[in-house]
Symmetry: C2
Subunit: 476 residues, 2 copies
């Protein structure tokens, strides 16, 4: 435990180092012996499980079922959709030996599963009665990345990938948008991360998609994180994999497909949106521990305080995720720092004087506020404060984003803001302008926000008439 208490780099001084310090010292992750791979420790994995549960429930409520497809995909299948393989070829890890034999055809460790799932769907979809086909998979994927960072970009990561088949383009597009709305709901209501919903420009689309919808969130250092995506694949994969159905009118038709995914990257976003110089700040809904009780007592008083703290922990445990920190080898001050580092939303301090007064002291991780509460009120008050913390973290993130979002006329303006934050601007849709923007400023077109329109008469790069409003940022 002692490593937890070493100083972390202040967020304002070096955000990147702060991030790495926090995830290590909050005990979320460790580095594996192989470059680019991470080990997700229990404290990090528990957050993943809460996110999984929240998403899975909504997927199920909207008619999706879970299934499991193979990890390894034959190269010939991966090659079937031309744009798709072009997008992924540089990132694939290949199995070439099985046991003692060299394989006749090498197998890709799945970077994503459109191809193997497409191959199966072409068998399963025969009639309009088989549609819509609405499946989701929880799985690991591997992408051979050069520069990695725990949770944000790792060679292997955990995710869910939804893959659906529909009778009409309209239905598939509606599915794509519905899933985006579910992601938005979970990001905002569970992770307390405000997001911008939008459509990717052609240059930023998923390999093989007709339209990619995205959620973009602003991190604490003013960079953007693409936190979930939902793809309308048109008939591209249906044609590549021959997913056809006999329609009610007796005609054989190609189906329309979608895919949508979110990953352990969300945990990276959670850290970078809410963390501060003391470490993590976790929204109560996804916090492995919502309340930690720290007894404060010495000598003769110890037994009495520990007994009362144990009693309180038991009462709270019926409704909340609670831990009593009764480690005798550490001081209360050490414990405060330790649990602040781990982002536990609420701390309860309990000492002899509190007992005499029939109270306990709640300390909020988000604001530092100390609240003396009568023992009889604690159960209710804890619930109220957890709700308040959940809302406040979201509100703070919204305020930070609003403060960091600028409407600009020319991309040169981004320099004065150090290229940090969200920029709203108009764009002429030429990829050459997007490329120039990226080369000169490091900014990319994150998305065309849903429902947005150009408000000026000139592209932010070339000055020609624009046809899209776009969100610009440097991105993870």
């Amino acid at each position: 435990m002692d490593n937890v208490l070493k100083e972390i780099t202040p967020k304002s001084q070096d955000f990147s180092q702060w991030y790495v310090d926090v995830i290590r010292k909050a005990d979320m992750v460790d580095y594996a012996p192989m470059k680019g791979f991470m080990v997700i420790k229990p404290y990090g994995y528990r957050i993943w499980e809460f996110i999984q549960q929240a998403l899975d429930r909504r997927f199920r409520e909207t008619g999706h079922e879970n299934a499991y497809f193979p990890l390894l995909i034959p190269e010939s299948l991966l090659l079937k959709e031309a744009q798709h393989i072009e997008g992924f070829s540089a990132e694939v890890a290949w199995v070439t030996q099985g046991g003692q034999e060299t394989l006749a055809e090498r197998l890709a460790v799945r970077p994503t599963s459109e191809t193997i799932i497409g191959a199966m769907y072409s068998k399963w979809v025969q009639s309009y009665r088989d549609l819509p086909l609405l499946l989701n998979q929880w799985a690991n994927v591997v992408r051979w990345e050069k520069a990695t960072r725990p949770f944000l970009r790792t060679t292997e990561f955990l995710w869910q990938e939804g893959h659906t088949v529909h009778r009409t383009a309209e239905e598939a597009e509606q599915e794509t948008r519905q899933q985006l709305a579910i992601y938005r709901e979970i990001m905002e209501d569970w992770l307390a991360i405000p997001v911008i919903q939008g459509v990717k420009s052609a240059g930023e689309r998923f390999a093989g998609a007709v339209e990619t919808y995205t959620l973009e969130a602003l991190m604490g250092d003013g960079r953007a994180l693409q936190i979930a995506t939902s793809h309308f694949l048109g008939q591209n994969f249906a044609k590549a994999f021959d997913i056809q159905f006999l329609d009610e009118d007796g005609q054989r038709k190609y189906a329309w497909t979608t895919s949508w995914g979110s990953s352990t990257r969300m945990i990276g976003g959670l850290i970078m949106v809410h963390g501060d110089d003391k470490g993590l700040r976790l929204p109560p809904k996804v916090a492995p521990l919502q309340v930690v009780i720290v007894p404060i007592a010495r000598g003769q008083e110890t037994a009495r305080v520990l007994a009362a703290a144990g009693e309180l922990a038991k009462r709270l445990a019926a409704s909340y995720r609670v831990k009593l920190d009764d480690r005798p080898e550490h001081t209360p001050g050490y414990k405060f720092n330790d649990w602040e580092m781990r982002g536990v939303p609420l701390r309860i301090e309990l000492g002899p004087r509190d007992l005499d007064k029939g109270q306990a002291v709640l300390v909020r991780r988000d604001t530092g506020e100390k609240i003396a509460v009568a023992q009889t009120e604690i159960l209710t008050r804890v619930g109220q404060e957890l709700d308040a913390i959940q809302r406040n973290l979201y509100q703070q993130a919204v305020e930070f984003r609003e403060k960091s979002t600028r409407v600009i006329e020319t991309y040169r303006q981004t320099e004065e803001y150090g290229y940090r934050g969200f920029f709203l601007a108009d764009w002429c849709s030429k990829e050459s302008c997007a490329e120039q923007l990226k080369a000169e400023t490091g900014l990319t077109i994150r998305c065309i926000p849903l429902g947005s329109q150009p408000t000026s008469s000139h592209c932010v790069v070339c000055g020609q008439p624009p046809d899209k409003r776009v969100l610009l940022a440097r991105a993870y």
Copy 2:
């Protein structure tokens, strides 16, 4: 859906073909385009999720936490424990290329994770205060198998693997047995599969283990299935990976470790223990659907019956997993067969005459029994019948096992039973006898049942004095 209704091979005629027919026609699984890989379809995957939930809850209640370790393991790590690599080397799939580069060291797709976890534990375990370390992982693993069969033996499968570290041998052995007891509880209480608890003979131990505990179940064709194992690893992995801790007495000591696992193989067991000539029979606790309602009506009566069936489905859905099968394109008879194939424990038939009498007819999948129940009693009665089905499936399996278990004096007796069933016998502990047994009869030593003692004066093979009571069977 029409494939569901094609005939399946009778169980008594060809058990192996029956198994394959059932899993395909009950829509649990499909074959992937690559030999040895399966796709788990939603109906099969849902069963896996229920088993996962049941196990995970018990693991958590006994102090274990989930974590996630990398899929790919460097060859040098895999080589560290000599017996371990010897046991697995023929089964490993190797990644040799990442993106465009050929890897300097090839990476194993994990066949099991003792080695990568051992490498991490050697960093994490420093003091006796860090112990016990109790982690579990839900993951996919790959073993390059020659002969495969869905759920029972596939190149990739899903499982959980627990890995724990302890201060003393006693504590580690206790953990090993505790986890075996949890497996037994879930097998019996959830899957309704009776199991024999035992210890593996030296020749059948997990590669690198000091002692392997196992649960052995008897399948419908009289063959055994090893359905979960729990390994006491002694200090083998602690020494290979340098897992040492500073004990309270100031001495550095090697730790004691365990590992224990169960997989999608359990679903294979579920099918082979309970299935019959009509298809699956699922224990209610793990059935994706517990009740299916089939309205029986024609012409004018249709609207009235469908409305009542919908109403009933809504009432039941609050407490049970229910489906109303209102597909207009299929007859009631078709639907009966369809849901019997899928093993739904309880069917409710509802027709105009039932409505007139204020009743519905429950039909049990396990016994075929038809029970007319007053509408007002249905909610309660459904719960009672589901409980009864859960118990009855277990009881039937126990009876089948008892009937199929023989105490033998010499291994030649197994011929008269067609080498099928469980055989209890005494053994002298010589591997040469085990080898002769296997070569001549195909039987292997499944385990030394816990608490058993030899009851005769001669080894079942060589006739020399025995020192162990053993359970013999042909095994999957």
